[in-house]
Symmetry: C2
Subunit: 119 residues, 2 copies
């Protein structure tokens, strides 16, 4: 993703070499970790497994549907691990995977940035 060269031909036409056809890495990253609530969910799982309804209470701004949807995505993306802790009564926990924890590193940075700048 080096420099993008813009040359101006004699005819005055401007030509861009190597335009970003598809999404750039940043774009792709955002699509994994930038979904609404995704970061927050991961954040809440940072140091211990959490059960669905507890998570739902913690993120009181998000609906159960949203949370369930996001958790599924995140499971597919290997960010979180879903564990059936017991049936009868059913108990399920979600925890950040090792990979999920690598993402937390940069979420930390984001949080820092937000706090430093009073956003």
């Amino acid at each position: 993703m080096g420099k993008m060269k813009i040359t101006e031909g004699k005819n005055g036409k401007r030509i861009v070499e190597e335009p970003c056809e598809g999404p750039c890495p940043i774009e792709r990253g955002m699509r994994i970790v930038g979904g609404k609530w995704t970061g927050s969910i991961l954040w809440h799982l940072k140091d211990k497994p959490v059960r669905f309804n507890d998570l739902s209470r913690q993120l009181s701004g998000a609906s159960k549907k949203m949370i369930s949807q996001r958790l599924k995505e995140m499971e597919e993306n290997k960010l979180v691990i879903r564990k059936v802790v017991s049936d009868q009564p059913v108990a399920i926990t979600y925890e950040a995977s090792e990979f999920g924890k690598t993402a937390l590193k940069f979420l930390d940075e984001l949080q820092l940035w937000v706090n430093e700048n009073g956003l």
Copy 2:
């Protein structure tokens, strides 16, 4: 954003102390920098001012409408600076503000994360 305490009352009711009412810092950050194309746009402005149509050519996946919309948001959020370089003929450049550049610091991290993990 310390630990979230979950206590189980004698009645079996689970109570969460200090739930995230509104969006957490991470969420707020994402809403500033996580919009579709926002990161990519900022990235393209990282070391030099760029003109609207050049940007549009560089991000060939995004429509002019999208870019214009995002640039406006980003200007409001003080991430970029719009400059009228000349009228007759009109020429306008967009560049990353100092604040915008602080965001680039952690977008670098995101990019690194994406590349390291082959996403």
